[in-house]
């Protein structure tokens, strides 16, 4: 019986997802990763998930990616007691003005999913880790809340959960006293979907964010980067980030 339910649910989900993405945003399918891995198959190091952000297409006033992320993980409203500086946000919009030329650039900042992440190096228990497919995560089961990773992260990508949280989503179990950050929507990626922020950016027809496999030379993201490049933020630190930017 339970298996039946599961099957019907899975069938339904995939149908609904396709239907939803077609009705909501025709562009989504274009960026959908080729095929989902079976549920019981482990992720592989043949893949390295990454993101490319074209700042020329990123509208200054748009917060589509931020809103989508906040909804996906139910971040807004889940921390009523924390101050603004204590609340969690996985992705933030920044506007940069070049000091000399006054040229303005707008871009989203999130965990850069480094190949050699400083947060992983410093974590005393190994809770901060990089999955073989390049996604940097926190294993909250063994995080002791020391916040050393937050000290070490060059991008200020991590947040500490300052109060008790209830009724979490399935996408991100998160709780008081542990550290968290952008998961590159690992729960979606494992099902063959793209991260919520990329989906929202595409749905809004800005198409400033691409998601895909950096190891696959034929993936859309790799071809785009080969053609037009993809810069790292703080490239001097030599972290080989998985999130790259154009027009910076």
């Amino acid at each position: 019986m339970s298996d039946q339910i599961n099957d019907s649910r899975r069938n339904f989900l995939s149908k609904a997802a396709i239907a939803g993405s077609i009705t909501l945003a025709p562009g989504v399918l274009l960026h959908q990763t080729a095929h989902a891995k079976p549920d019981d198959q482990a992720v592989s190091s043949d893949t390295r998930w990454g993101m490319l952000i074209d700042t020329n297409k990123c509208a200054k006033s748009c917060t589509g990616c931020v809103d989508a992320c906040n909804e996906e993980f139910d971040l807004i409203g889940s921390m009523p007691k924390s101050s603004e500086a204590q609340k969690t946000q996985y992705i933030r919009k920044v506007t940069l003005v070049e000091k000399q030329t006054k040229h303005e650039t707008s871009l989203p900042m999130l965990c850069q999913h480094c190949e050699s992440p400083p947060c992983v190096d410093v974590c005393p228990t190994g809770a901060s880790f990089k999955r073989v497919d390049g996604i940097v995560l926190v294993d909250k089961h063994i995080c002791i809340g020391c916040r050393y990773c937050m000290m070490a992260c060059p991008y200020k990508a991590r947040s500490f959960v300052h109060e008790a949280i209830e009724n979490q989503t399935l996408s991100a179990p998160r709780g008081k006293g542990t550290v968290e950050s952008c998961t590159m929507c690992v729960h979606r990626v494992d099902n063959g979907d793209i991260p919520a922020c990329v989906e929202a950016c595409t749905a809004d027809n800005h198409n400033a964010m691409f998601f895909g496999d950096l190891n696959d030379p034929d993936s859309e993201i790799s071809r785009e980067m080969k053609k037009h490049g993809g810069k790292q933020i703080r490239a001097d630190l030599n972290l080989n980030t998985g999130v790259r930017y154009q027009g910076l």
């Binding site: 921390m79 007691k81 924390s82 101050s83 500086a85 204590q86 609340k87 969690t88 946000q89 933030r92 919009k93 920044v94 506007t95 940069l96 003005v97 070049e98 000091k99 000399q100 650039t105 900042m109 400083p118 992983v120 190096d121 410093v122 974590c123 005393p124 228990t125 190994g126 063994i142 995080c143 002791i144 809340g145 020391c146 916040r147 050393y148 937050m150 000290m151 070490a152 992260c153 060059p154 991008y155 200020k156 991590r158 947040s159 500490f160 959960v161 300052h162 109060e163 008790a164 008081k176 006293g177 542990t178 550290v179 933020i233 703080r234 630190l237």
Partner: protein
């Protein structure tokens, strides 16, 4: 040279029990603060996603740094063979253990999940300096504990020198480790400097000796034992050298940074326009914790005054706390250089972070100090740590080689 006799303190006076109760009360306050912070979550503190380490870490790092410094007196005696410090070795080692325990308690109780202590001590990531430190701290307890045993057990006395050497090396590594917690943070302009480790070692010499002197003078004064000028004069000039060396390394650290244009921003912040941090640096660290104690220590007219030495030691401790506040909190408050060459609109990335320590944080920090002192006064009551007399005839400088 006469044989040194050690005795327990009587510890039956009202003052002793009063001190014990006072310290116990401070620890109780710290526990209440911990419960409050852990029950509610860290939103009740002044700490944020910008200032992730706050007041508890200032106290914890201070105590841990001072702990390794407190062992110095014993090291000088056993490693460098200065006999005059020999009678002080037991107290020096005890103080080291007590201070480390106090510091670690604070560090532990501020964790987001202190209930997962077992995870912290069973799951290691060996690339993490924090993980090394957990091993270094545990090892320090073991080695210094063994050192005390060698000093107290007549049969083991012959190993004293070797264990003393091991303890000395270990303490240098330990402070290097503590300094490196900050020194290895490549991303933060205030921390990314190899000089952090040696600077922390010199700081530990000064803070540890200042606390040692206060403890020594207080315990001899309150138990009516004789403390001769010869010993105090030696320690006094040693303290002066350490304070001067701390100032020197601080100067080198900032001069190096001033040479690197990438670091001009953070230097201007600490040295000139950082508000509270600038004040704490110049007034707290440099003047109160450096220049004033030096004047008190070296002024010829004050040379024999125990009170001025006590005041100087207290000032060094205050200056040390200011220094760590500037390093730990100031270093985090200054915005990280994520986009060099750009002005950043988002205050999360672009602005100086605000921090005001909350009462529970301060209570927790102070309770760490109380834990150290409580351990100390308890230990000197149950074991023989203090020489009966440190009068000049016992510790005559001419008797040393």
């Amino acid at each position: 040279m006469k044989k040194i006799e050690y005795t327990k303190i009587k510890g039956q006076s009202i003052a002793y029990y009063g001190l014990l109760a006072g310290l116990g009360f401070m620890i109780l306050l710290g526990l209440i603060a911990t419960w409050y912070m852990e029950h509610n979550g860290h939103y009740v503190t002044g700490m944020t996603n910008h200032i992730v380490w706050g007041m508890p870490h200032v106290f914890a790092v201070f105590l841990i740094v001072a702990a390794s410094g407190a062992l110095n007196v014993a090291s000088i005696a056993s490693v460098f063979g200065k006999k005059i410090y020999d009678p002080l070795s037991r107290l020096s080692a005890l103080l080291a253990i007590a201070l480390l325990a106090g510091g670690l308690v604070v560090l532990l109780l501020d964790l987001g999940r202190p209930d997962r202590l077992i995870v912290a001590i069973t799951t290691y990531n060996f690339k993490s300096i924090f993980a090394w430190n957990i091993i270094l701290y545990t090892g320090f307890f073991a080695i210094v504990g063994a050192y005390i045993w060698m000093m107290m057990d007549h049969n083991m006395y012959k190993f004293k020198k070797k264990v003393g050497l091991a303890a000395f090396v270990w303490r240098l590594v330990l402070t290097t480790g503590t300094g490196s917690i900050f020194g290895f943070l490549v991303a933060r302009s205030a921390y990314d400097a190899a000089i952090m480790a040696p600077m922390f070692i010199i700081m530990s010499f000064a803070f540890g000796l200042a606390i040692f002197l206060l403890v020594l003078m207080a315990s001899y004064n309150w138990t009516g034992r004789e403390l001769g000028d010869a010993v105090v004069a030696r320690l006094r000039s040693l303290l002066g050298v350490f304070v001067a060396a701390t100032l020197f390394l601080t100067a080198i650290y900032h001069l190096t940074n001033l040479y690197i244009s990438q670091h001009h921003g953070v230097e201007a912040f600490i040295l000139a326009n950082g508000g509270i941090y600038t004040n704490l640096f110049w007034i707290g660290q440099v003047f109160l914790g450096g220049l004033l104690p030096l004047a008190l220590i070296y002024a010829p007219s004050l040379k024999t005054s125990r009170n001025t030495l006590g005041v100087a030691s207290a000032l060094i401790i205050i200056g040390g706390l200011c220094q760590l506040y500037v390093i730990i909190i100031g270093g985090q408050a200054y915005p990280m250089e994520i986009f060099p060459g750009y002005e950043v609109s988002n205050t999360y990335f672009g602005a100086v972070s605000q921090y005001s320590p909350s009462l529970p944080e301060i209570m927790l920090g102070l309770s760490g100090v109380a834990v150290s002192l409580l351990l100390l006064i308890f230990a000197i009551k149950v074991l023989r740590f203090l020489p009966v007399s440190l009068s000049d005839s016992f510790a005559d400088p001419h008797a040393s080689k």
